[in-house]
């Protein structure tokens, strides 16, 4: 037993170490924060130093960046994309909008609290977050991964009922297959 635990620990450690240093970010600019992503990824800030690079499709991606507000129309796609991502997966919420609606708090078309619809690992403050802040967010995510606290996918699966009911409250026409892993 003890041995199993230890070996599991080592496996987790190695896995987490790899995950931490290899974060594939889904290329999905959901909102205005996407404008700082090129800056973060390119030569001035060079996020690739941390192994952060873009992934073109959700299947290959580890990190979903919600770059700001989400309109209800996009939310539907985001849920779809999120569910297509393979675990372990992480979500980073950019800017004010993902926390409490930001400057679109009274808009009829943007959601206010992102964590009601999909679990979020890290929030980055700003409107928009600067590249430095974005990198700080990634560093924080790395810490969480290393500590084993970033278990976004599990959280989602376990509380699927809760998330699903919240999602269906907003998305009136649910023309999607229910969850497929």
């Amino acid at each position: 037993m003890e041995n199993d635990k230890n070996s599991q620990k080592i496996v987790d450690y190695i896995g987490n170490f790899a995950r931490k240093h290899s974060l594939f970010v889904l290329a999905y600019g959901t909102g205005c924060g996407a404008i700082e992503i090129p800056a973060t990824m390119t030569s001035r800030y060079d996020a690739e130093r941390f192994g952060i690079r873009g992934a073109a499709t959700p299947r290959q991606a580890d990190v979903l960046l919600i770059t700001g507000y989400l309109s209800t129309k996009t939310l539907k796609r985001v849920i779809r994309v999120y569910e297509q991502m393979q675990e372990p997966k992480y979500v980073i919420g950019f800017g004010s909008c993902t926390v409490n609606g930001g400057m679109y708090y009274d808009s009829y078309n943007t959601i206010n609290g992102l964590d009601q619809y999909i679990p979020v690992d890290v929030y980055i403050n700003g409107c928009m977050p600067r590249p430095e802040a974005v990198i700080s967010g990634f560093v924080k995510l790395q810490e969480l991964i290393m500590a084993g606290k970033a278990n976004n996918g599990e959280k989602y699966r376990e509380n699927l009922e809760h998330y699903r009911s919240n999602q269906k409250k907003i998305i009136k026409n649910w023309k999607m297959p229910d969850y497929n892993w």
């Binding site: 004010s96 409490n100 930001g102 929030y123 403050n125 409107c127």
Partner: protein, 596 residues
């Protein structure tokens, strides 16, 4: 399709050069790029400087700023005791809150990194949560860049040389345009309402003026002040002292705006039409009021509105009390007070003139015939200057002097006049004297900036050629041995000595005696109430301390049925607006006593 052309082959060389260049990457987080000096990062609020006006909260289009009360900050006059808290889940760092902050306490810093996994962490009380951010302020706002308008619309006045020729009103009042512009400056925080003894609805009526609804403004004013015309002209306006704009600039001219609002209704009929007071059915109670000063009139007005049968007993031939007799006509013309009194009478207030209580009618009679009594007698007896030869002819108290002048009688002050004192009454005395062609000098113990008079009054006096001698302690009045008339006054120069925990005290400099030759000495160092009319048995029950009647917050005296207000009462300042507040609150007290 050509083979790779030569140019295409040579291109790489340009790119390969970069291989050997040092990358311009900023290796954050191992090395940091400092945010610019102007960066709009997280907020910082100087909690001591902040007055909790809530302007930031109002301008925030994201509804991101809440005003909350903090544990260690209590409200006081000019400080609501609330402080902004930013919801960083809403903020967009537009810095409009910084640009409208009237005190400049709210600023943005260079901190911009805030990363968390808990969405409930995003409430930030700037200043409390990040006290060390003070050193990293970046986006700040001074008076030039501020959106607040710190400069008051100047009030048009008669020229100094022109106005000493007559008792014409010095202040000309705002034109409509000026009033709108001035009202526009107000940020509607309402800090003034707390400072105002009467708690007038200042932001509301200013807003009404700003939006061009003068009638509404007047209606709002009359809601708790029946003498706005008087207040609009001679109020001591403690409200302006706490104005949020006054912290860095000039306060909103609340008094002048009130004046403007009253000027839009020049006749009694118009006032009545606009204010449209709702007079309730008579409720059968009657109230007797002693003294038709501001306190008495206010009490009478609101009691009458509530259906009481109100009678005022006034010793003089004219209502108004000190504002009638103690304020020169260039500040407050006779027509204005007449208009106000007529309006009062039109809603059913009865005033018995020339009826001095204790002489023409006994207090007992009033006490027994009415269900409640309100005493608003004011301060009539001047204090003595307390120096030699004070009783000589040519020495007069300012209050007496003003009363004489306001009663259209004459008093010859001669060519040169010395006024002792630094309050409004002193300046009034001086300026009235100046209107009679006298050369006036004011002697004041302390410095000019210590003078309790309004700065506008002091300035006005200076414009009218009145000489102010500060730090002068009168020692004796010199009289002509033959005629006994005053020919001068001797004073000592003083130096200001700082005192622990108090304002500097003037100390006479030995041997600095100076003599100022003059024909009249006007003393204006304060007044006291006259309680001679009051039967002895009441005097004990009323509890009079240091010449002032003790009252509770509903202006009820030691005798249940007797309420008191005005300068003769120890509650608030000795000014007209406090008197009005006394009257207004006494109405509440009487209501509570009689109607339960």
């Amino acid at each position: 399709m050509s083979f790779i052309d030569l140019k295409g082959m040579l291109q790489p060389l340009g790119a390969v050069k970069q291989l050997f260049k040092k990358p311009h990457t900023i290796q954050y987080p191992y090395e940091t790029n400092k945010a610019s000096d102007n960066y709009r990062g997280l907020h910082f609020n100087d909690l001591d400087q902040c007055i909790g006006c809530g302007n930031c909260s109002t301008i925030c289009q994201n509804d991101a700023i809440d005003m909350i009360s903090l544990d260690n900050i209590d409200g006081k006059k000019g400080d609501s005791g609330l402080r902004p808290r930013i919801d960083n889940g809403r903020c967009c760092w537009c810095a409009l809150c910084v640009d409208v902050c009237p005190t400049g306490s709210l600023n943005l810093t260079k901190d911009y990194i805030f990363v968390t996994d808990n969405p409930n962490d995003f409430l930030l009380t700037p200043g409390l949560d990040n006290p060390d951010a003070k050193d990293r302020l970046s986006y700040t706002c001074d008076m030039n860049t501020s959106l607040s308008l710190y400069d008051r619309v100047p009030m048009r006045e008669l020229d100094g040389k022109e106005r000493v020729k007559s008792f014409a009103e010095v202040v000309l009042g705002y034109s409509e345009e000026e009033a709108r512009a001035e009202a526009d400056r107000c940020i509607s925080c309402g800090l003034c309402t707390e400072a105002c003894p009467e708690n007038m609805h200042i932001p509301e009526y200013i807003n009404a003026i700003a939006r061009g609804n003068d009638d509404d403004a007047l209606r709002i004013i009359y809601d708790n002040n029946p003498l706005p015309e008087m207040c609009g002209k001679v109020c001591t306006r403690v409200c302006e002292d706490v104005c949020a704009l006054q912290v860095r600039g000039e306060a909103v001219a609340i008094r002048w705006l009130k004046r403007y609002a009253t000027e839009t209704a020049p006749t009694v009929e118009m006032i009545k039409e606009i204010v449209d007071p709702k007079i309730e059915e008579p409720n059968g109670f009657s109230v007797g009021i002693v003294g038709a000063g501001p306190a008495g009139l206010t009490a009478a007005y609101y009691l009458a509105l509530k259906g009481y049968d109100v009678t005022i007993y006034e010793a003089q031939a004219h209502a108004g009390g000190m504002i009638m007799y103690g304020i020169p006509k260039y500040r407050f013309p006779l027509e204005s007070i007449d208009k106000q009194i007529q309006y009062m009478e039109s809603i059913g207030v009865k005033i018995k003139y020339n009826t001095k209580v204790g002489k023409d009618i006994t207090f007992d009679e009033i006490y027994t015939n009415n269900d409640a009594v309100f005493v608003g007698i004011g301060l009539q007896n001047p204090w003595n200057i307390g120096i030699k030869n004070e009783d000589s002819p040519g020495v007069i108290s300012a209050i007496e002097y003003l009363k004489i002048i306001n009663s259209d009688e004459t008093y010859d002050v001669g060519k040169k006049v010395a006024v002792i004192g630094g309050g409004n009454v002193a300046i009034d005395g001086a300026r009235v004297s100046a209107r009679f062609g006298a050369d006036v000098t004011i002697l004041y113990r302390r410095r000019v900036e210590d003078m309790p008079a309004d700065w506008e009054e002091i300035e006005g006096a200076e414009h009218e050629g009145i000489n102010i001698v500060p730090q002068a302690i009168p020692t004796r009045i010199i009289k002509d041995e033959k005629t006994g008339k005053v020919i001068g006054i001797e004073y000592l120069k003083a130096k200001m000595v700082a005192e622990d925990g108090g304002r500097p005290r003037p100390v006479a400099i030995e041997g600095s005696e100076t003599i100022y030759e003059c024909d009249t000495v006007i003393g204006a160092i304060g007044q006291q109430a006259d309680f001679d009319w009051l039967p002895e048995n009441y005097k004990e029950d009323l509890i009079i301390e240091r010449g002032k009647i003790q009252v509770n917050d509903l202006r009820q005296t030691g005798v249940t049925k007797i309420f008191a207000g005005g300068d003769s009462v120890k509650y608030g300042n000795s000014d007209a607006i406090s008197a009005i507040a006394d009257g207004f609150n006494a109405v509440k007290g009487i209501d509570k006593l009689l109607l339960k």
